[in-house]
Amino acid sequence: MLNNELLNNELRKNPFAVPDKYFDNLPSRVQDKCIMSKKSPVFAFGLLPKLAWSGGIIVLALALFLSYFNFNNTSIGKQNPETLMVDADSGEISPKNVDVRKSSLKSYRNDVKVEYLAVRNVNLNDYLASRY
């Protein structure tokens, strides 16, 4: 196959060289690298970025949830009997409508509703008896 005599004979010799004792030391350097890779936690190189991403996603989801809650639940500002009184006085709510099933009152906490009834001198037991 090789017609060129030069290519056949002379050039098969390896022209490259290595530093002195290179091959004596290589196995121990390889061994060190393998041991280092065993010690270096997969955690640091493999799992940590994934954890960072998961953490980021959780924080983002939490932030979105809180902002959504704040946006929709304007009731946070309403969560006191005085605001409920104002709503009631403005005709939006009457004592008879104090029912968790009423959508207009859903944004109020039960304790606020109970306090409201107390301010209005409505006996809770009577109220409940009248309702159910």
Binding site: L7, A17, P19, R29, S37
Partner: protein, 185 residues
Amino acid sequence: MVKDNSYTDKELITMFRNPAQKSYAFNLITRKYQERVYWHIRKIVISHDDTDDLVQNTFLKAWEGLESFREESQLFTWLYRIATNEALTFLRKKRTKFFLPLVDVENQLSNTLESDAYFSGDELHTKLQKALLRLPEKQRLVFNMKYFEEMKYEEISAVVGTSVGALKASYHHAVEKIEKFLQED
């Protein structure tokens, strides 16, 4: 007691799978194949320093993968396959990193050859290596394994995953191009 260098690959792999002998067996495997792996990579990437890194990476991958090595191929062709992938990936990364076309990377390697303190070849060797750097990647790989390492086509086929017929054609084309290049000037 059997001498270290008389262990067969099968014995070494069995020892490696025994946790008590794992490190010792791997040390023997490294000693047995380090030179072949080194020269194989060196002929692809030319620079000693790059080769040194890639040899270590090759054995590191072997360390990680030897547990699940299924012994369908010989240990040395498996190591060669890892080494070849490491070297070719390194060259491809180099091209991508510097946005260089193929010919420029080969020019870079050619310059490395001339300035390399660990290149002891004469003018003719330099010319042959430069001719090799002009070959397509696969032809260069096949030529190196056939011409310098005198591997059988079946062994080369196990390393590069190409049929023997295609390898013979690759080698034939490579020889033609190199001879033409050597006859120039």
